[in-house]
Amino acid sequence: MADVTNLPGASSSQKMSSKLLRQKAQEFLTSRKYANNLVDIISQWDESTLSCLLTIETIFVEVLKRGDMYLERTISLTISEPSPEARYINWLRNYYEELWEKILASMEKYRPAVQLQALTTALKLMAEEGKNPLEPISNLGYYFPFHRLKPILMKLLSPEKDNASLISRFQEIIEYPDALYYTWKCLPSLTPKRQPHEIYIKNLLELIHKLSLPKEIEENEISENKNLLCKPEQATKNFIWDQAGARRALNKVWACVMHWELTPQLHKQLLIVLLERVMPHLEKPVLLTDFLMDSLDADGPIGLLALQGVFLLVTKHNLEYPNIFTKLYSMFEPEIFHTKYKARLFYLSDLFLSSTHLPEALVAAFAKRLARLTLVAPPEDILIILLFVGNLLLRHPGLKRLIDHPQEGEILEENNGAGDPFLMEERDPLLSNALLSSLWEIKALQCHIVPSIASAARFIREPLPSVEYDMASALERTGGHLFDNELKNKVKDIMLTFERPNSMALPKGERLLQYWQLTTMH
């Protein structure tokens, strides 16, 4: 498919043609005698799709508005010669259908820009058609061009290519409640029971991620929302939001989705969609337990997301899962600092451990493990952990022994000889001996190279505050923040070294040249 517009020489001719096309469209709209212009325009399709799409859009939006294609379905008993009017309408409608196919086809082929334009054109035509139906509406109820939406969705959920950008464009019409509702209505019929293609799953999840089903409370608001995509002018009956129907559709879709096999990438995406969009609307969320339990065993973000799901089940649906803290405990590995989900993990674990009725040994193990992690963590994460540990100490007064041991002095050598009695390798937080230890790691952080950490780590020396530390703002910070903050610090007098170097070597404490031979070859 040689795209003419891409060729360098074609740009001028394309301009010409787009101008010509616009002119032809104008002529077509002014008088019927230029009706054949439409044929000309369509013949240009392959050469300049983009401008054709735009022209077609203007033509048919206008035509639909005028109701030029409106056909009274009169049941005539006599088979009479169709009038020229009717013949023209029929001719026009045939071309209209043909064009729809072309538009839909161009959503798959051609350049991304053309694809996007095709989608936009399709959506506009659909909206216009909804406002001005081609045929009389049977029950005078709300009319939605369902037959147009379905092929669009089918194209979006293509099993061949990733349609993320198209889906995000499609998202624009999701804001209209009618469009949202009918999309949901449409989806179950498009979801296969069998294992579909990966890309299809990805597209579907992407789409569902964009489709936000309102919560029960917002239901009324939605039905009162007069801002509809297809608001027929003559329709007396308004669109009614059917929450139950939408939920049913969602459950149907999800029932299919749950049976599919997933790659880790999709698994993660699925969990995100599940947690953010689907979970609140599921009829029997407890059914997810098995799925989540399986996901829990996976490492990294999947496990974490599953954990969040389990947490929701535990808190909202009375699921009992005693090992959840062990699971959470095992998630704190040095690797987390290099994942995108660490903020979520910290947020979640703050939530998990917010109860003041947890056993002290458990919380102490968390505190100690987190402290241990600071020894390898990047600076910005250390700040989060410090706040977190501070909050844990605040919630559980018994943990004070970690920073202020009742019996001063040296550690008794009862367990595993000298050294820290805390067992980092122990998987069970309750067996990790954390309560026998002290937060020496935080003391070590007091001489961290970053001054803000060093001063933050001093909190263990002072009495704890009465209000918990605010972790939310710290979660968003990155290493760049720290760097910028340090640069922002304005100091009046700048200190300089006071020993004049004679060469690159420092007069005192030179290390670089001790290990590096830089100025000579050998």
Partner: protein, 885 residues
């Protein structure tokens, strides 16, 4: 008894008199203000007053001033009596005259013309002006007349006796001269004497004049006799040089300043200054840590009033002790082998030509012979010293000086070495070697520099733009560049011109840019050249930074910011060399040990970000990582701070040099990867057991920063450097309780690997580190305990006693506010006083006017009455006349 009574009486009378004086006040004039409350010890200023007296005083004053003004109101002329003492009633006529005369004299003394120095009153002595006397033209002393009695021109004693008092009955009147004769005789006599005296006087004058002239003739001959020889030589010698010297000698010299400091003083001052700076640095390093941490000793009586005993800083004392002890030690050693010293002394002295020294020698030798070497060694030494000090003090002084210097240098050496000993126990040797090497290097460089110096032009303008600087520096090597920069700075020293400071500040920026542009990693030569440029330019950058610290820091900050921005664009890639070299520069220009510093802290954060984020893919990445690790080590050597990023990186280095089959199940933290090619980068290809390597003197090389194939040599070196760095960091952090936890993962890795393929020395070296790390585990840990808060002392309700009680409550306020408050108060007081005065003035004037008015009215009435009276008389007279008619 009588005496006592007398005394008593006199005293009583005295008291009485004084009381009388006091009592001269009319008791009715005194007004007493009674206090409502009598406060003991308070002195009231206004307890009594003399209203009448003070009013009279005020009225009198008004009469003198206000009244006079009032009288002269609306009058343009006024008559002033300026005669001296005219208005003063206490002066009598004589005083006035005297005062006027004095004033006249004073006026005469005042110089009319300040430029005419001679316009002074002429002083006289015996009628002659002093000037005349000072000429000594005619120095006729009184003595000339004293020997003969008649010198004064008066009549002879005898003659007077006879002529004036010789009458009477008893006297012999044989002469029988008449009175007239007698008088004639008397006159003749006196005339004759006068003439004689005149004659003698003239003679002496002639004689002295003659003598004077003769003496003058003789004078040149006498002086010539003295000077004859010298003068000829001097005349011969005066040449240009001498003239120049004289000129220099008499040229205006600098203003007097403090006395020149001796070398010792200078050294001492320098040392003190450095110590102060060091103390300052340590304070900054601790940041806020120790402000409230230091556990101070508290006595049981501490009232918690914030009063603390000053800690006496006896550092200097300690130093002195040290010095002393060193001296003693030296002396001790010298005592032990005095003979040695004596021999030395002999050697020294024999070289000298002085006779004294030879004598000395003899004595010394004698002593040596006679005294028992071992027993009396010290004595000998003492004697020798004494004798020396007496006989050739010069030598002694010079010797002592040199010995002092020695001591100082010794001290320094000891200090530095002790520090180093603390810091690196093992690598001492290498450092020494290194120093030696550096010294050699420096010497060599000096030679090159000398050569270069000769070739280059001597003056340079400060480049206005970077392009200009490039032009200047383009074709020279690093040494020449440094000289050029040196000359630029010297030619445009900031003390010469005000604008130079700004120009040189710009130069700082340009130099950094220059360094930036030369820090390329294309090939080994360019890398080395880049580093050489830095190496040579460092001192000048240091100078320029000190010239304008504000500028230096902002410029460096900007550069680091820019580099960081570039880094943020691609966070997984190690930044180029031009970023890394700036970290080194920062450590040279700014103190790295500060708790928080506007330049070094961002650099540190930047470096740790690099270590945390960047992927290790090839040889260059490893070298750059190690480079940064070394730099962080350098940054933290003094402050001993903890950088997780470095430990993490070094752990990664150890990991990637360990065969994976040994360490299955052990995970590594990103940026290192457990699997893939990059996790095996440093595993040796071949058996290198036979390679001979000294692990403590191993170096990374500039060539490692250039991309190339990985070879076993590099692998061994990288691992060794990592191990060495780990050793240093371990030394830094071993005081922390969490030290074992920090190094545990590394220890685990080292334990599992047996390093079979590595040379034996390397394996040993690594084992040593392993052992050291293992020892950390055995450290006794102490529980963290929050510092006990000092118990709040009981409140003591004692009266608060103020040292100076002035009955006023002083609000605590700022100095400026207090000052303002004070001024306002004063203003109010003054305003009140002024208003009162004005009011009284008005009353005074009103009274005066009304008096005047009354007086005028009375006058008028009187006049009217008079006129009426006169008119009545006239009328009556008229009536009388009419009646008469």
């Amino acid at each position: 008894m009588v005496k006592i009574k007398k005394k008593l009486l006199s005293e009583i009378s005295q008291e009485k008199r004084s009381q009388e004086k006091k009592k001269s006040l009319n008791p009715f004039e005194v007004h007493i203000n009674r206090d409502k409350q009598n406060v003991l010890g308070r002195k009231s200023k206004a307890d009594k007053g003399l209203p009448g007296v003070s009013r009279a005083k005020a009225i009198k004053k008004r009469k003198d001033t206000l009244l006079q003004e009032y009288k002269l109101k609306h009058k343009s002329n006024l008559f002033l009596d300026r005669r001296i003492g005219e208005k003063n009633s206490f002066m009598n006529e004589e005083d006035k005259a005297l005062a006027r005369f004095t004033a006249e004299r004073m006026k005469a003394h005042k110089k009319k013309n300040i430029y005419n120095l001679n316009d002074e009153e002429v002083l006289t002595h015996r009628g002659q002006t002093l000037e005349e006397i000072e000429k000594f033209d005619d120095p006729k002393s009184d003595d000339e007349y004293s020997d003969d009695e008649n010198g004064s021109g008066k009549l002879n004693n005898k003659f007077v006796n006879e002529a004036h008092f010789g009458g009477g009955v008893l006297s012999k009147s044989e002469s029988g001269k008449s009175r007239k004769d007698l008088i004639d005789e008397l006159i003749a006599e006196s005339k004759k004497r006068k003439a004689e005296r005149q004659k003698i006087r003239e003679q002496t004058i002639d004689l002295t004049e003659k003598l004077d002239s003769e003496w003058r003739d003789l004078l040149p001959i006498v002086s010539a006799a003295n000077k004859n020889v010298e003068e000829t030589i001097v005349h011969a010698k005066t040449d240009d040089y001498d003239i120049a010297v004289r000129e220099l000698k008499f040229e205006a010299k600098g203003t007097p300043s403090d006395k020149l400091k001796s070398e010792e003083e200078i050294v001492k001052e320098e040392k003190e200054k450095l110590e102060a700076l060091e103390a300052d640095r340590v304070a900054r390093m601790k940041g806020l840590i120790n402000t409230n941490n230091g556990i101070k000793h508290k006595s049981a009586d501490d009232l918690d009033d914030g009063f603390t005993l000053e800690i006496i800083n006896d550092e200097i004392l300690v130093n002195d002790d040290k010095e002393n002890s060193i001296k003693n030690a030296q002396e001790g050693s010298s005592n032990e082998d005095t003979s040695d010293i004596i021999d030395k002394g002999n050697d020294n002295n024999s070289g000298d030509d002085d006779d004294d020294n030879d004598k000395d020698n003899l004595i010394l030798n004698n002593d040596e012979e006679t005294t028992d070497k071992q027993v009396n060694a010290t004595k000998v030494n003492g004697i020798i010293r004494k004798e020396k000090s007496v006989e050739n003090s010069n030598e002694e002084i010079s010797e002592s000086e040199s010995s002092n210097e020695d001591n100082l240098s010794d001290l320094k050496e000891i200090e530095s070495s002790s520090e180093e000993e603390n810091e690196l126990n093992k690598s001492n040797m290498t450092i020494n070697l290194k120093q030696q090497k550096i010294k050699n290097d420096l010497l060599k460089r000096k030679k090159i520099m000398e050569n270069a110096r000769k070739e280059l032009p001597y003056t340079f303008e400060v480049p206005e733009s970077f392009a200009e600087l490039q032009e200047i520096l383009q074709n020279y090597n690093a040494d020449c560049q440094s000289i050029i920069v040196d000359r630029i700075i010297k030619c445009n020293h900031w003390s010469l011109n005000n604008t130079n400071k700004e120009k040189l500040s710009n130069l700082f920026l340009f130099l950094l840019q220059h360094i930036n542009d030369h820090a390329m990693e294309d090939d080994i030569e360019s890398v080395i050249k880049g580093f050489q440029i830095i190496d040579r330019l460092c001192p000048f950058l240091y100078d320029l930074a000190h010239l304008n610290p504000q500028n230096a820091s902002s410029v460096t900050q900007e550069i680091i910011k820019e580099k960081h921005k570039d880094f943020e664009k691609n966070k997984r890639k190690y930044p180029d060399l031009d970023t890394l070299v700036f970290f080194k520069l920062v450590s040279l220009l700014f103190p790295t040990s500060d708790f928080r510093h506007p330049v070094t802290t961002p650099s540190l954060i930047f470096m740790s970000q690099i270590l945390f984020r960047c992927r290790i893919k090839n040889k260059v990445d490893i070298s750059k990582g190690l480079f940064i690790c070394t730099l962080i080590l350098e940054y933290t050597t003094l402050s001993k701070r903890f950088a997780p990023s470095v430990i993490n990186f070094l752990r990664g280095i150890v990991y990637i040099s360990t065969p994976k089959h040994l360490i299955q199940g052990i995970n590594i933290i990103p940026p290192f990867k457990t699997i893939g090619e990059s996790s095996n980068l440093l595993i040796l290809d071949e058996d290198q057991t036979n390679l001979d390597i000294d692990p403590s003197s191993i170096h990374m090389k500039a060539s490692d920063l250039v991309d190339g194939p990985l070879d076993d040599d590099f692998r061994i070196r990288a691992l060794l450097i990592a191990v060495n760095l780990l050793g240093e960091f371990k030394n830094h952090l071993e005081e922390l309780e969490a030290a074992y936890s920090i190094f545990e993962p590394i220890l685990k890795l080292l334990k599992l690997n047996s390093f079979n393929k590595y040379p034996l020395s390397v394996t040993k070296h690594i084992k040593r580190l392993r052992k050291n790390l293992k020892e950390l585990k055995n450290k006794k840990l102490e529980y963290i305990v929050v510092e006990k808060k000092k118990p709040k002392p009981l409140r003591l309700y004692e009266p608060r006693i103020e040292a100076v009680y002035d009955s006023k409550k002083h609000k605590p306020m700022s100095k400026e506010k207090a000052e303002r408050e004070k001024l306002l108060h004063k203003y109010k007081k003054e305003m009140k006083g002024a208003m009162r005065e004005i009011r009284r003035d008005r009353a005074f004037l009103a009274k005066l006017q009304i008096k005047q008015q009354i007086k005028n009215d009375e006058e008028r009435k009187r006049k009217v009455k008079e006129i009426f009276g006169e008119a009545a008389i006239q009328q009556s007279e008229l009536k009388k006349l009419k009646r008469k008619k």
